[in-house]
Symmetry: C2
Subunit: 416 residues, 2 copies
């Protein structure tokens, strides 16, 4: 690559967008399969580049969890290739006719799905996201400009080079996949200020990173947010569902955004439910941060502070509070939730329907685990992220959420 | 009103959003009809308040066109009330089930349409927009925080007070309609920085106003943009369609965003079409700004400069250029268009389909006037604006575009 600025890279991506938008579904699938083959064939190169990142990370003391997310080995590269093949096999959203009708004057009007054009992505030191977002963008007919964390710079540059070469072997312009990693912070800034060149920006990572991008970007952003997720145990909650749904929502996988972080127990049911639910959580190693009532009803409770209600632990911790009424539970959620996912355990249809109607979150459930808010579980095949904003996409995003629409009108001389 | 800051007003709107989201379609229609009645009943108050604005405007020399947009009289107030009744009669988008299926584990999953919550609007000195946006927001279950141009401050305050009183008579919280007009620029700034309080911000007005809002807002924006709209006359364009569609697109109404501003003529057809098209335009008082070839083929042409290709005249002016090929036309559009609406006049199906596929604009037509890009023409009943962004909404926006969605899951104890 002989480009010399983030703006040049973005301009190349924009120029390539018209060609990529016109690729057939089969051409895009072939290209993705070629990328998958190339990843496996070049595994040694990728592992070597990744080794540089890992060594630098270790020297900088970035911690075991981050080091694990950063590391690539042959097995992980095969998994990345496999995921790319799965994206290749997904239905192409481009060209879908969403609505259409014939106007009174005879014009045939239809709204069709089209690629955004150029997707920008800002994310942290996880090289798998480089391939993941690249594949999803290409499948949906978009070009992409990537900015990964600087800690994964060598890995990302190697991965992007391999993906670009694979595109070229398929007769597709390699400019469809760009990185601005080598420009450091300037690369991220250019993406956020890339109005006219970047059609949509997807931040993936910590709440801090997302907040920065949302605040600083003049390009439209799809916010994939954090999850301060609530389980409400209604007065009528059956014992087994209360225990199973709380335990599953908290412990089935603790580091994800759809894991529960708070339990609200209706006072009528507190004496019956708090003991067994706390015991089941503690059995799985969970620390319960409870209010005064919870502390009187169970052993081994850490007193909850105001901070606990708004903390997304992503660990074996959960906050628990006894509330006087469903109204108080709804108010608590309104105040502390990140509006990702909430669930209520109840057999009272009035409370179930009130909860579904009044909780303003991307996903609202009755009598299910919160862990179902997931593109795979919803049957989307792949997941671009889980949007917690209300514009364009809300909840799990599949490939169609990486597209826009346009209106086509076919007439025969109609005028107004 | 005893509120004392834009933040208080936004907080009140946010607090009212839960109540307004739960109103039934009939309640919202009744409220809008009550607003329409109140506007007519209080016409004298409105006209008096408007008189202050008009007098101030005249003193400040704001010009006849702006004065006309600013002025309200009994007749215009009756028209505003009528428009409000029409919004009341529109189908309620809230509650529509967009998709749904039963997961393999038995959870019933559906995606339903819900209000955004709080809609913010920043617009210029047109008091009719105050009522218009207020009505559209309420019909779609949203509360609204309005910031109109300071030149219309007295009118807007009077209109908002009347709308709020009308809501109260219907037992609906008046806090659903807020204005931050009396806080001047601080009101607009607060709206643009109102993350967590404002769910979506709609700027309406000049390109400058929209650019400022898009650049400075940390709240998601729906951009309703300007239209540098193109008519392409292909080699095969029939004479009558070429003349009729160009003339209609330019002159049927000159001050609107879907009016044509540039004509591109394929060289093969230039000798046949430029003369008659220019003559028909000139007959209607249009000044044609043409390139060298156009100047040799017709009389009375003003030489076009580079600026003409990117100018949205909104006047009896049009730019005209002869291009060598459809590719050159597509490149010109790609470079200069605001991606609002473009049309081609052709009988060649290959060029028609290429144009539809490759032009990246909100509306792309074959053999129709550009004037059809309009919510009313599309059959939406009302128009919130015409979006030229690709996120969330593109092209004419109806009531559904003022809503978000959420996922509802009904289960019976399902866990992962």
């Amino acid at each position: 690559m002989t480009n010399d600025s983030p703006e040049t890279r973005m301009t190349l991506a924009k120029a390539a967008a018209r060609e990529v938008a016109r690729l057939t579904s089969a051409q895009k699938a072939d290209a993705l399969n070629a990328i998958a083959d190339a990843l496996v064939a070049n595994a040694a190169t990728i592992v070597a580049a990744n080794g540089d990142d890992v060594e630098r990370g270790r020297r900088n003391g970035i911690g075991d969890a981050l080091l694990d997310r950063l590391s690539l080995d042959d097995e992980r590269i095969v998994a990345l290739a496999e995921a790319t093949r799965e994206v290749a096999a997904l239905p192409d959203p481009v060209g879908e006719v969403i609505r259409g009708h014939r106007l009174a004057n005879g014009i045939n009007l239809e709204q069709v799905r089209v690629p955004f054009g150029v997707v920008g992505a800002i994310y942290e030191a996880r090289p798998n996201v480089t391939v993941d977002i690249g594949a999803l963008a290409l499948r949906s007919g978009n070009t992409v400009v990537l900015r990964g964390g600087s800690a994964a710079k060598s890995s990302n540059m190697a991965l992007v080079a391999i993906m670009r070469d694979a595109l070229a072997t398929q007769g597709i312009t390699p400019e469809a996949i760009q990185t601005v990693d080598e420009f450091g912070r300037d690369g991220a800034k250019a993406l956020m200020r890339g109005r006219g060149l970047i059609d949509v920006l997807v931040p993936r990572g910590s709440a801090n990173l997302i907040e920065t991008v949302v605040t600083e970007s003049t390009v439209p952003v799809i916010e994939t947010g954090a999850g301060n997720v609530h389980v409400v145990l209604d007065s009528t909650a059956p014992d087994d569902w209360a225990v199973d749904i709380t335990v599953n929502s908290k412990t089935q996988r603790i580091s994800v955004c759809n894991a529960a972080e708070s339990v609200l127990v209706l006072r009528d049911a507190a004496e019956r439910l708090v003991g067994p639910v706390v015991a089941a959580l503690q059995e799985r190693g969970v620390t319960v941060h409870g209010d005064d009532t919870v502390q009187t009803l169970a052993q081994g409770i850490v007193p909850a502070t105001e901070d606990d209600w708004s903390t997304e632990y992503q660990s074996l911790d959960i906050a628990m509070r006894v509330v006087d009424s469903l109204d108080e539970a709804l108010d608590h959620i309104d105040r502390y939730s990140t509006h990702h996912t909430e669930t209520i355990v109840t057999t009272d249809v009035r409370n179930a329907e009130r909860f579904l109607a009044e909780v303003d979150s991307a996903a609202v459930y009755v009598n299910t685990s919160t862990r179902f808010t997931d593109g795979g579980e919803y049957g989307f095949g792949a997941e671009v992220g889980i949007s917690t904003q209300k514009l364009h996409a809300r909840g799990p995003m599949g490939l169609p959420e990486l597209t826009s629409t346009k209106w086509l009108g076919r007439g025969s001389g109609q005028i107004r």
